[in-house]
Amino acid sequence: MIQIGCFFSLVGLGYYVVLNGAGFFNFAIGPYTMFSGLASSWLVFIQGWDLPQAILVGIAATIVLSVLTELLVVRPIERRSGGEELPALIAVVAVLYAIAQLAGTLFGRRPLPGRPWFYFENPIQVGLAYIDAQVIVSVVVTLLVFTALSLWLTFSPYGKIMRAVGDNQEAARTLGFPITRVRVIAFALAGLIAGIAGPLFASKAGVGFESGLSYSLFGFIALVLGGTGSPWAPLAGGMLLATIQIMSSYFFGSVWLNYATLAIAVVFFAIRPEGIFARRVRA
């Protein structure tokens, strides 16, 4: 449960970055995550590589995919259709589908397992959660990623620019900030986060070429639940979503996972789309 929560949080963070940097919901981030996980699993189990190199290749591939999405798909379509949201939405859904099919063609259509980054016997039990080595690794890596991103946004030059762009894109453009560069950086960062999340989570239950859709959906809900007010918000959202999913599955039956997720989405989107940690725009 903790591990799943961390995973949703990371995907949600990926959304957060692109939302800030480009004002856009990059729905294809689920497939990026899947691609990295499946690529590294394929390299390890089918090609016999060592885990660290496989993970690095997975991350690199995902960054490339993400940046290509921005350069080849999102930017041209947004330029052509002005303010309309629909063409970009359809395009990114098409990218979602295309990356899934690409992964299926390259790595085969059967799910592959992941490999834990560390292992020790006898996991510790805490309530409903069982803490084994990979859970601890997940928590540590997640916290590291969030902290790193938070610091980057606060202190690095491009980070500060990205926050400004996120607050008000038009004003930032008028002030002469390098919008296009920031967009690419945002997409690349999202690719990096997704690239790390994929192999991290793959060891839990394996990864298949069709897994990306659920990742996208759950990450999106994590973002909306948490809100866009702070880079740490997706962490809260992700944990909350995972808890609700596991609890409803435990108390009512496994099918309630999907019902509960749907209910949360309907309720939160309609009632409090700004999430738990709403953004306070600096006036």
Partner: protein, 322 residues
Amino acid sequence: MISKLRQRGAWLETFSTLALVLIAIAYVQGDVYLEDVAILVATYSMIALGLYVPFIMGGALSMSYNAYLGIGAYAVAIIASKTGLGFGWGLPIGMALSAAVAVILGFATRRLSGFFLASVTVLFGIAFTSWLIASADLTGGGAGIPTFPTPVVFGVKLTHTIVVSIALLLVWIVAVLLARLRRSPFGVAVRASRRASTAVEASGIRISTIVLVSLALGAIIASLGGSMFALVNESVIPESFAIDIVFLTVFTPLLGGQSTPWGAVLGAFLVVLFTFELTMFKETGTLLFALAVLVVLVAAPRGLLGYASSGLKLLTSRLEPR
């Protein structure tokens, strides 16, 4: 005189597409494999046509169409296998249920747009398949309803061939009706609601009503497609109605061309071609389809038919004497 030319164009389109459909029906007669391909084309076309009004015309990307397809299919299957009523009741019941679900879902999501609407409707589609599997008493659960007796109408057994032919004709009827609808006041209102909502509301039409009606209409069409699918296969299984089928079909109207419902049919045809039929594309068919969609979206947004018509215009304008 202008309206006469316009009318002539409309009749030309109607009759030439009817001719194509009749040729298709004749071609697949008696060949079980081709008939199965044809019913796939018909089913995907019905989903695509169902998407046409709310999505292509109205700009609302609601993706829960696998649910409407499934409702139509299961309605027929459940009624034919578990009740004494004739299977025929399955069709209107399926349509009514689908419309009701679409309206409820549309109402719950009326203030959502874009990514939020798409997410919620996809989640609904996923939840629907889970519900089918979990409700074993009604739906047969994971195993579905493996067989129900061949339906009989007025003493005539509805064989595979007959149902496939009816399904293809139905696609034609729906497409023609939607083409008419598109030019009607309602159609204009739907298309306008996408871009100029204030103008539409000012002329006295409530946007939310338009949206709900178009969603219901789309659901009804998809439900009909599902019923046909069930009748041809004489069985239903949850895996046939998973959310993946929406991802395949949501792009079909874009691929084929948005300015006419026939683009949806053409797109559906191409999808089946790419993913099922061309054996040389066996492994990569869906990937090629996905890439084709991306290319169309980025570089050729008017779809195949849109460009074909411009291409033809160009050709004939060159040939015409000035």
